[in-house]
């Protein structure tokens, strides 16, 4: 025991390696390895006659994805709804986060934060079904709104915006809360109006938090396929197409190839987000 502890003291790298072993094994073996298998299978093909997977390298799946209109339509729809969800969430989240971090008294702040987090403890499916009931004809929102949005892309957008809002508020709240009060005082001392201070000091410093929050709403919407199938009526997302191709059809290679699309989109998004310092704000 003593030898072990002295070994750790003398070799800090050993200590680090031991600490990181479990999480590294998790991410490398389970996450990265399965992603790699997915990547490889995208280059295989599905032989329709024997209903088996042919394990020879081919770009057929990608060519089909690029040349068939419907996949472009579905990809653009998924990205569009993910982007709109993100915009809606950010617009709603900034005032909430600002009020919580800079205006509310500590007791109220706790209440608001608990109220924000509370829905996250409820099953995602329960929330989707609740929305489905509210959105359909005769539902609560059908009474309130002058038009019916049940079973439509708009319904998907509303549900997505609702589902991911807490994930967007919390990073923005974090970045606003960390904002040194001295900066705001300095701005005021120099004669800046409170709106000017907000636009030129507070908001720019909150950008990493905003981007960090947007990663959640964008990525989670991009990968969802359950909400579209329940509240979307006829709406198809990338995930729905992937699911359909895996099932009875068994065309895993094609599904894998299509899965590369959201992976690439998110890759680009993360690369851009990293530049803003969003990862420090998570």
């Amino acid at each position: 025991m003593r030898r072990l502890s002295s070994a750790y003291t003398n070799h800090p790298r050993l200590k680090l390696a031991t600490l990181l072993a479990a999480p590294m094994a998790w991410i490398v073996l389970i996450y990265l390895a399965s992603l790699a298998v997915l990547l490889i299978s995208a280059f295989w093909t599905f032989d329709t006659f024997s209903a088996t997977i042919v394990k020879t390298f081919s770009l057929d799946n990608f060519i089909e994805l690029a040349t068939t209109d419907v996949y472009r339509v579905i990809t653009l729809r998924t990205i569009r709804i993910a982007a709109l969800t993100t915009v809606i969430d950010v617009v709603i989240a900034i005032p909430i986060a600002y009020f919580c971090a800079r205006v509310a008294r500590p007791r109220n702040r706790t209440i608001i934060l608990v109220l924000l987090v509370l829905p996250l403890w409820t099953s995602y499916l329960v929330k989707i079904f609740a929305w489905q009931t509210m959105l359909q004809t005769g539902g609560l929102l059908d009474y309130v709104l002058p038009f019916n949005v049940g079973y439509s892309e708009t319904a998907v957008l509303i549900v997505m915006s609702y589902l991911w809002l807490p994930y967007v508020v919390l990073p923005i709240y974090g970045s606003l809360e960390r904002l040194p009060g001295s900066l705001l005082e300095a701005s005021a001392d120099l004669g800046a109006h409170s709106r000017t201070t907000f636009m030129r000091v507070t908001l720019p410093l909150a950008v990493p938090g905003i981007v960090a929050g947007s990663i959640f709403s964008f990525a989670l919407t991009l990968g969802d396929y359950i909400a579209p199938s329940i509240v979307g009526g006829k709406t198809q997302f990338i995930g729905n197409v992937i699911y359909d191709n895996v099932g009875v059809a068994g065309n895993v290679p094609f599904a894998a190839a299509y899965a590369m699309v959201p992976i690439a989109v998110i890759g680009v998004y993360l690369a851009l987000a990293k530049r803003t310092g969003a990862f420090e704000a998570l």
Binding site: L38, F49, V73, F129, K234, G239, Y243
Partner: protein, 387 residues
Amino acid sequence: MKSTARRVTALAGGLAVVAAACGGGGGSSTKPLDKVGAGEGALSLIIWPGYAESGKNDPKVDWVTPFETASGCKVTTKEAQDSAEMVTLMRQGSTYDGVSASGDATNRLIAGGNVAELNVSLIPDFANITPKLQSPPHNTVNGKHYGISYQWGANVLMYNTDKVTPAPTSWAAVFDQVPAAAKGKLTPYTGAIYIADAALYLKSAKPELGITDPYELTQAQFDAAIVLLKAQKGNAKLYWGTTTEQTDAFKSGDAVMGPSWPYQVNLLEGDKQPVASVIPKEGATGWADSWMMSSKAAHPNCMYKWMQWTATPDVQAQVASYFGSAPANPKACDVLGKETCDAYHVTDDAYFSQISFWKTPLADCGNGKTTCIDFADWTKAWTEVKG
């Protein structure tokens, strides 16, 4: 709601195995058993909800516990909510001994080598199964049996009797002659297998296409069905995948007509909703489910015992009355009574012959040609239909 939630979590599980399933199905050529030995003490099944009741949902509905007592095989079940999920689960290997597969999945399981050839002489009640379902093409290939027929039913045309008048008599009502009251309020079924419904309609509406079997379509026939379905989308409110999706939309008035199962019709009628159903003049597609044994089953003796048990008239009758389906063994009518049996059309040959049962579309047309459209292409075309 509960079962829908289950389905959706299952969907999530299905995606998670994408990577794991890459290996594909390995064939198995082991000979079927020549006698049923002692049970292995356990049995693991993939089932449609309601197909293996153990009294947990309703203490009076229980055909699993007596089986466990008699055979010593402890039954565990995994409920699947669609055929896609059943195939995915069966391809995971030796976790499951058997599955209650529908005809749109059975041929795929057979072709993939995921299910074992059966020796039907080991199942005494096989002889009592209606001759039409002893060797149907969806569970018997080249004279080899891979499944024991369990229950069947038709995909009927359900409509709101207040809104849709006069009552529809043709599938044209959901395709190219949608009544004004139903425009934008159709609920077609979601899933590539629904393409067969369009093909079935075209079989009589456009005889010049020469469709003989709605599951064995040439490119030209297939394209015509897709054109019809794309036009239908304009009149669709939602595509239903789980029964609650459709019953909810009917109750709220968002939908007034669509292909359905007798199960939903019974459910809505029980709720005093103004619905009725009909088998239109073109006939209907339908489902016929079979018990199939995994080619890697760890408990084959228990599976044979289960297949015999579930083919007995008593169990067949219990499933039929609980699930709202027609039993494959007409002797169940002695238990069900004539009235119930007639309601399910158990012995009605005319009704039966109107149904084109789900089977997996394969490239092999069944007539020596291999130019038919395979289900993988049906799936892609279905994506295009929904757009």
